[in-house]
Amino acid sequence: MSDVKCTSNVFHPNSAMDFLPVGQLRQLQLARYQAIVRRAYEKVELFRKRMEERSLKPEDIKSLDDVAKLPFTIKTDLRDTYPFDLFASEMSDIVRLHASSGTTGKPIVVAYTQQDVDVWASVMVRTFAACGLGKGDIIQNSYGYGLFTGGLGAHYGAEALGATVIPTSGGNTERQIMVLKDFNVTAICCTPSYFLHIIERAGEMGIDFKALPLKAGIFGAEPWTENMRVRIEEEGGIKAYDIYGLSEIIGPGVASACCAQEGLHIFEDHFYPEIIDPQTGDPQPDGTEGELVFTTLSKWAMPMIRYRTRDITRLMTEQCPCGRTVRRIARIGRRSDDMFIIRGVNVFPSQIEEALLAVEGTLPHYQIVLTRAKGLDNMEVQVEVTADLFSDKIGAMEGLQQKLGKSVEHIIGIRAKVSLVEPHTIARSEGKAKRLIDKREM
């Protein structure tokens, strides 16, 4: 990464907080932390009860080290308080509600005051600016509009930036490609797997993607790998920026890659990060990998105290070439709840991806299928055959199958059956990629 040049840094007034001296930033964080803990304690029953169980009062938070005393908040807390019991504001002060897609049971509901919505737009402005975008850019927003925070979050940020926004929302890939081409779009917001789908479809439609004015992709809402970024940049002829966010905290705009493309800057003045050991809950020093935890420092309608994201990463404290002083998180390739256990071994789908990519020419359209026969767990990795991988010789194809199998075994230490499948047989995601099918009956 020595050839990184950060001359494309677009400075927007909102980005000033990204460059605050660290000492001042910590003072600001402490003052805001104390205020938000007080608000949560006074307005939200769940937080008050949990603090009382630990004999804690808001005034016990005297330094940022004291926050480790506070109880965690987890996703099921949001389900258990459905729909409104975590709100700290009166409904009359709340201007927006969003909810998770919730594939099983009740969704989780999140709320915003006008001030929260303004903060959200401002952190999205900082996201876009860090990705080199500004007034004059034409941004196609292919995140889903609706209850999902991705669509409206990116939309308001792009408008506040002064860019031109095209609210295509998700789906209808042919129309996405038509807009991309005909409206001279310079940046697109969507999930990385959906963008790969767009490139693939455009190729089938005979469109030379690299000839388009598109220069940047703002990709988030699912874990992806560095290899996938390289592939997207090569095939799409664009810069692929990683962004991070979650509805429980605010939506997109919690952290963003910058021109250096090494890690994602957390907008720390609004979202206080910690890394903990996911098993013990103990805080980990900077640079150690663990589960990412956030406290919202300014969210008024629905404060979140030490929310466990389930995302696995580490905090990077080294000075970034872009000059931002806010800390970075390393790219999130895996989630602690994506992990599956097979024959006693913990496996992340990203490790399978790494194994497949290690074999020359293999592209990441794959699916992991877990089955159980006679008490024994079996893992099958289905890989779609592409023109690059395909040979007319049986021996070459069997060799490929073996190489993929060995690569998986080498990385995770378990033998997997690799199956070569026809193209387009693995379901393409318009939103998030489904990599794991667990058919085991526990």
Binding site: F390, D392, K393, M397, E398, L420, E422
Partner: protein
């Protein structure tokens, strides 16, 4: 003097073979000859057609994975020992055959065998030096259509 052979990747499941055949039928492509190599899990369908580009386009449009490989069509005497004579020539020339299959017709006691070599250009040169008849794409079509 080489033929362009199309290969199609198929999963080893009921109905998979008929899919590309239907695509070619709908595109009005006549299959001159066909061979299927298979393993337990997948198969490779190999085809010789009059207009390979048209067939390839149709198959790709139907989302098949298609490869184009150069193969060599050699005329063989349709009598006992006819194939053996040709194979002997190849053995002497130290040409390694990756795979082979036959056309299903014969004319004037001549059969045509398709050979896949690692280096088809060298193979064509060596075989022609040994006075074996190598057929062009046009000649193959003519003979099939009689």
């Amino acid at each position: 003097m080489k033929l362009n052979q199309l290969s199609v990747f198929l999963e080893n499941k009921p109905g998979r073979l008929s899919e590309p055949c239907k695509v070619l039928a709908d595109a009005g492509v006549n299959i001159l000859t066909i061979s299927l190599a298979d393993t337990e899990q997948f198969g490779i369908l190999r085809l010789i057609v009059p207009d390979w580009q048209k067939a390839k386009n149709a198959l790709e449009k139907a989302q098949c994975v298609v490869n184009v490989t150069e193969v060599v069509a050699v005329e063989v005497e349709d009598k006992p020992g006819g194939l053996q004579n040709v194979l002997q020539v190849m053995e002497q020339a130290q040409l390694n055959i990756e795979y082979m299959y036959a056309f299903t017709f014969r004319r004037e006691n001549k059969a045509i065998i398709v050979f896949r070599f690692e280096d088809p250009d060298t193979a064509v040169k060596l075989l022609q030096q040994k006075a074996l008849k190598i057929l062009s794409s046009e000649e193959v079509c003519q003979r099939v259509e009689g």
